[in-house]
């Protein structure tokens, strides 16, 4: 009788180990996937920018500087050699785009151009999607880290080489609202609305 009990116990423990391991694997994969999703959105933004700049260039001759900033930041982001400089370039691009979208409010003739409106919407949603992709990434990282750190799954995690992942932290530039000359525009539109980086 006792051998049966022991057998059942062993099977139960083995079963638990397997399921704990599998859920750690699943979470780790979700984290990797969430990171790639951010990339997808960032690349989307790279593709949209040339069209937007083309479309507004004609109307906004006096905003040379803003436009150039955006184009340059994009070029840097696309050609960045490593992750660190790429992230820095992407942050610069976010700031530049925010400024551009805000400044576009000063040009009412832009609103009459349907192409510009469409592109503006594309950019707004891309900024939001980047924001939410980062939030989603942080949410999965939270789930993974909790699983890795709490008892008893931390026993499995430590033995099989699962580590806590790093949260995506926005830099101070991310939180900054671009400076817009309020005397020229009515509602100041810093650009993308989206979640704060949670």
């Amino acid at each position: 009788m006792t051998s049966v009990v022991i057998l059942v116990l062993v099977l139960a423990i083995a079963g638990w180990i397997a399921s704990a391991y599998n859920s750690l694997v699943s979470l780790r994969n979700q984290v990797a996937n969430a990171w790639r999703q951010i990339d997808v959105q960032l690349k989307r933004r790279h593709d949209l920018i040339p069209n937007l700049v083309e479309a507004v260039k004609g109307y906004m001759q006096f905003e040379r500087e803003t436009l150039t900033q955006v184009v340059e930041a994009r070029a840097k982001a696309v050609s960045a050699p490593d992750q660190g400089s790429r992230m820095a370039a992407e942050t610069q691009l976010t700031t530049g785009l925010g400024k551009l979208l805000a400044v576009m409010e000063n040009y009412p003739q832009l609103k009459a151009d349907e192409n510009v409106l469409k592109l503006q919407e594309e950019l707004t949603t891309t900024e939001n999607q980047i924001s939410f992709a980062r939030q989603a990434y942080n949410d999965v990282v939270l789930a993974l880290n909790t699983r890795v750190e709490t008892f008893p799954s931390n026993l499995i995690a430590n033995n099989f080489g699962f580590h806590a992942a790093e949260y995506f932290k926005g830099g101070p530039e991310d939180q900054a609202v671009p400076k817009v000359n309020l005397s020229m525009s009515t509602p100041s539109e810093p650009g993308a609305s989206g979640a704060p980086h949670a």
């Binding site: 979700q30 969430a34 707004t124 939001n128 939410f132 989603a136 509602p187 979640a195």
Partner: protein, 339 residues
């Protein structure tokens, strides 16, 4: 029931737990009524402490309810969309494209596949989600919602609908409907059998080959069955409505989880609370799916204890109160610029 919680995660946990409790209550009633009925009918009996026989009537009621539910489950989404005359959102119109974009944004935030987007041509602001699981789901808004909400508020409302999809609420409510239907059917069996057997109880039917000899017990059983059969459908309905309300509170909290912005849904609900005219397309079958029940009236929503018990949605002012508590707690966090 719960204090003014300011943390959406705590709210979500409480709501999920309460749903489980409610569903368990309903299952108990169903099993109890079914068992008593089958005892009374003689299809099961307790012999020497063991259960013999097959609970035919309980199984029949459940089977019928399940078939009904499965049919609507699989055909469900398209039927619902047809019945409210919804048509797909078109990316050609900037307005509709914005809504489609917001739906994509919420899909990313909730880590779900993007549901199909639909619109109803009605000036009253409202929205609903339908579909059996996240891969086969649809989200529908009214033209009124598009016209009256800004982008942030749209995010709040669509976030709420996405959470219905994420939490499999449609499926939960269907299970609940199966049980309510099953209980109603069992109750029906009881009263029909009373009619046919003159209130004696159907001992002579299946397997009642020998009289157990306790007539006193038989009468007690009969009374128990009749009482339960009378009240069970009402209780089941009340429990089903309670489950529905819990899911609505949960969806509000989850919307905050996805947008991380309580003000988004808060402002949307405040705007909806101002609206006078009910949604024209809200039929009896679909009314409970909307973010605000279009048939239960919107203004002065807190009508009283019994009205609220029968309502599929919590009173609008209570929902707004909870969101305000969350917004107050989040005040210190980032200011969200408007787009």
């Amino acid at each position: 029931m719960s204090p003014a919680a300011t943390d959406f995660r705590a709210l979500e946990t409480t709501n999920r737990r309460q749903t489980v409790v409610l569903v368990a209550v309903m299952m108990t009633i169903l099993v109890a009524l079914g068992f008593l009925l089958d005892c009374w009918a003689g299809s099961v009996a307790i012999v020497n402490g063991r259960l013999v026989g097959f609970p035919v009537l309980t199984v029949a009621a459940l089977a019928f309810g399940t078939v009904q539910a499965l049919t609507s489950f699989y055909a469900g989404a398209s039927l619902v969309l047809m019945s409210v005359h919804a048509h797909p959102l078109s990316p050609d119109s900037i307005e509709h494209k914005t809504v489609l974009d917001v739906i994509s944004e919420m899909a990313i935030a909730s880590r779900l596949p993007v549901p199909a987007g639909y619109v109803i041509d009605d000036p009253s602001p409202n929205a609903f989600a339908t579909g059996r699981d996240p891969h086969h789901s649809a989200l529908c808004v009214t033209q009124g919602l598009i016209d009256q909400m800004d982008r942030e508020e749209l995010q709040g409302v669509i976030g709420h609908e996405m959470s219905h999809i994420a939490d499999y609420d449609i499926r939960t409510m269907m299970m609940v409907a199966v049980m309510v239907g099953g209980i109603a059917m069992l109750s029906d069996f009881v009263f029909r059998m009373m009619f046919f057997t003159g209130g004696r109880g159907g001992r002579g039917g299946r397997g009642g080959s020998s009289d157990r000899g306790d007539n006193g017990g038989g009468a007690l059983l009969a009374v128990a069955v009749i009482v339960l059969a009378a009240v069970a459908p009402i209780i089941a309905q009340l429990v089903a409505m309670a489950v529905s309300r819990q899911r609505e509170y949960l969806a509000d909290a989850s919307s905050v989880e996805f947008t991380r912005n309580p003000r988004a849904l808060l402002r949307a609900l405040e705007k909806i609370a101002q609206v006078e005219s009910p949604l024209k397309e809200g039929t009896a079958g679909t009314a409970h799916l909307f973010i605000v029940n279009p048939r239960e009236g919107l203004k002065d929503d807190d009508e009283g204890f019994f009205d609220n018990l029968l309502s599929t949605h919590p009173p609008l002012n209570k929902r707004i109160e909870r969101l305000r508590a969350m917004a107050g707690a989040a005040q210190a966090a980032a200011q969200i610029p408007q787009t």
